[in-house]
Assembly symmetry: C2
Homo-oligomer: 338 residues x 2
C-alpha cells in the first residue's frame, strides 16, 4: 500500500520556527529548552500528530530502551504471571518490552532471538538454558546481556534467575515415595530442547534410585502441554498391566489433563491414583481434587529477572539468583490403598 508522507522532525522544526535539534530536545530532555520555546514546539507536535520514527531514533541514538523476551508459549499460564511481573518492572524503569514466542521449537527460538536483536533490544530474557552453543556465542559477540529464567544452575557461565527444577522435582518424588507409593509413573513434558522438563524427569529418577525403586518399574510418558495429550498419556499409563499408584506430572497442565481424563474414565483421584503437578498456576486450585504441586514464586522471579537485566545493562555485570520452591499439598496426593 502506498505510504503517505508523515510529519517529520523537520516539519515540526520548520513550523515552530526552530531547529531540529531543539525539537528533538523538547521531546527527550524538555528541561534543556526554554519553556516558551517548548510550548510552541509541543503545540506544533500535537497539531501535526507527530510521532518520532523509532527506527531513525534507534539508529541515531544507538539504543532502543527496549528489552526482549522469548518465551516458549503464551498459550498456557505457565509463564503468564512471571512475564507480567517482568513487564511491570521493565515499565517501571521506563523501558519497553518486546515479547516473542517460540512454540517450544529451537529453530523458532533462534529466529525470534535474531529478530529481537535486529530490532535493537538492549537485553534479552530467555527461558531455561537448553539451546545451541552458537546462540550464546552470537549473544556474546554482539554484547547483548541476557538472563535465563525458570531454571537455575550453580556452575554455568550464564546468569540464571530461577529455581532448581531437579531439586524441586526430586523433593516432590520423595514426598510421593514417603506417602508409600512404590509403583510410580511420570507424565513428563517433552524433554527435547526443554531443560526444565528434562531436569524434572531427572529429579524423579534420582529420587527413585535413592529409594531403591528400580527404574524398570518406572513408567515415563512424554506429552505436550495440553489437556488432551496429557489425557492420552494418562490413559496409556492407567491401562498398563502394572498400573502405578501415583503419577508425577511435569507441570500443572499435564496434571489437570490427567485428572480430567481420569474422571471421564471413572478412575478416582486420589483414591485409585495419586497425581501431582508442578508450577502452581491458578488451574491447580480450580480442579478437583485440588492439585498437590510445586509452588514457584512466579512474580518475584519475573521482577528479579528484570532487575538482573538492568544491572547487566548498567554495570556490565550481574549475578544469578536462586529462588526456593515449595510443595503445596492439596488433595490429589494421598497414600496408596492397601
Amino acid at each position: 500500500m502506498e505510504k503517505l508522507q508523515l510529519p517529520t522532525l523537520e516539519d515540526v522544526a520548520r513550523q515552530a520556527n526552530v531547529s531540529t535539534a531543539t525539537v528533538s530536545r523538547c521531546l527527550s530532555r524538555p528541561d534543556t529548552v526554554r519553556s516558551s520555546t517548548r510550548e510552541r514546539v509541543m503545540e506544533v507536535v500535537s497539531e501535526l500528530g507527530y510521532t518520532p520514527n523509532f527506527g531513525a531514533q534507534a539508529m541515531a541514538a544507538r539504543r532502543t530502551n527496549t528489552i526482549g523476551a522469548v518465551i516458549p508459549t503464551m498459550d498456557n499460564a505457565i509463564f503468564a504471571k512471571g512475564l507480567q511481573a517482568f513487564q511491570e518492572e521493565i515499565s517501571k524503569q521506563g523501558a519497553n518490552l518486546l515479547v516473542a514466542s517460540s512454540s517450544y521449537k529451537k529453530g523458532m527460538e533462534e529466529k525470534q532471538i535474531r529478530s529481537l536483536i535486529a530490532r535493537g533490544v538492549d537485553g534479552l530474557l530467555l527461558i531455561g538454558d537448553d539451546r545451541d552453543k552458537e546462540i550464546y556465542e552470537y549473544l556474546e559477540k554482539r554484547h547483548i546481556p541476557y538472563v535465563l529464567a525458570w531454571n537455575y544452575r550453580d556452575k554455568a557461565p550464564h546468569t540464571y534467575v530461577g529455581f532448581n527444577n531437579f531439586q524441586a522435582s526430586y523433593d516432590m518424588a520423595k514426598l510421593v515415595i514417603d506417602y508409600g507409593h512404590r509403583r510410580v509413573a511420570m507424565i513428563a513434558g517433552v524433554t527435547e530442547g526443554n531443560d526444565r522438563a528434562f531436569d524434572r524427569l531427572a529429579g524423579v529418577r534420582q529420587a527413585l534410585s535413592d529409594s531403591n525403586i528400580p527404574q524398570e518399574s518406572f513408567l515415563v510418558v512424554e506429552s505436550e502441554y495440553s489437556f488432551d495429550a496429557a489425557g492420552n498419556a494418562f490413559e496409556k499409563i492407567a491401562n498398563n498391566e502394572h498400573r502405578p499408584t501415583a503419577i508425577i506430572c511435569g507441570n500443572d497442565v499435564l496434571a489437570v489433563g490427567a485428572i480430567i481424563r481420569a474422571k471421564s474414565l471413572g478412575i478416582n483421584i486420589p483414591e485409585e491414583i495419586s497425581i501431582t503437578g508442578f508450577d502452581d498456576i491458578e488451574l491447580s486450585t480450580v480442579v478437583e481434587p485440588g492439585l498437590t504441586t510445586v509452588h514457584v514464586p512466579h512474580r518475584r522471579m519475573g521482577t528479579s529477572a528484570a532487575n538482573a537485566l538492568f544491572a547487566a545493562l548498567k554495570e556490565q555485570k550481574t549475578r544469578s539468583r536462586k529462588f526456593e520452591t515449595q510443595i503445596i499439598q492439596r488433595q490429589s496426593l494421598t497414600a496408596p490403598r492397601k
Copy 2:
C-alpha cells in the same frame, strides 16, 4: 553500556568484494543474484555473524513487515487462543507480530498504540471499539489499517472481526430465564472502557426487560477479572436479602471465581445458585460443576483477523466478518429449586 561495532552491510560487501546493493539483494531477493555471487556473500554473512539493522531497514524500505496487536491482558486465557491463531497466520504470511498489553487502561492502550506505530507496524489488531475518537483519527491520519476483534457491529465505520456480544449475552440470559429463573444477578466485567463487558451487560438487561422482569430486582456487581474479585462479588450477591437463583457472569474467569467462592462458603452450585460464564476457555471444562457458557470461536476469529489485516494492507480495503457464538451447556445452570 558501551556498544561495540557490529558488522554492517558495508563490511559484508567489502569482504565479499561486491557492492552493498548486491548484499542487500542477496538477503531480500536472492533470486536476483547469480548463485556464485550469492554463495560468496552468504558465507561472509555467516562468518561475520551479520544481522541487518532493523531500524535502518525499516527506514530505508519504509515498511516493516510487522503487525502490532494491543490486547487488554495476557494474564488470563481470554485472548490467548485467539492471539495464538492470529500469530500463526501472521507468521505463515511471512510477517512478524508485536504484542503489547494495556491492562484494560485506556491511557495505557493509547500509549501502546503510539509506541507500536512509532515502531513502524504496518497494521494493528485492537480489541473492541471503546476508545477515544482521537485514536481513530490518528490511525486514519497515519493510514494505519486496523481491525477490531472480539466484538462486532453492523453499522460502524470500522472493520470488525468478532461476534455480537450483546446478542450472545441476550441469548444466554434468555436461556437462564427459560429455565425458570426470575431473581437474576450479574457479575459483570468492569464496563468502563470495555465495550464487550458493556454489551454483555446490556444484553442481559434487554433480555430481562423483554421477559418483563423488573430491573430493580436485577443485581449487578462489576468486578475485575480475577478469581478473588469475582469471589467477593459473588459473596456480596449471595448475601443479598433476596438471594438470586442465578448469576450470569461476564466471562469464565468471573464465573469460576464465583464457583470457587461458593464452594468455600458451602453454597451448592447449581442447586442453590446457577452460574453461567462467557468465552468457553479451558477453565470451564476443569471446574466442577462444568460451566455452562458461551462458546467463542477464538481460533477462527484470530486467523480471520490476520487475513482481514493483510487484505487491508494489500487492497487498501477490507470488510468486517461476523462469527456466531453458541451456548455450551454443562452443569452449572439448572432450574431453580421450588
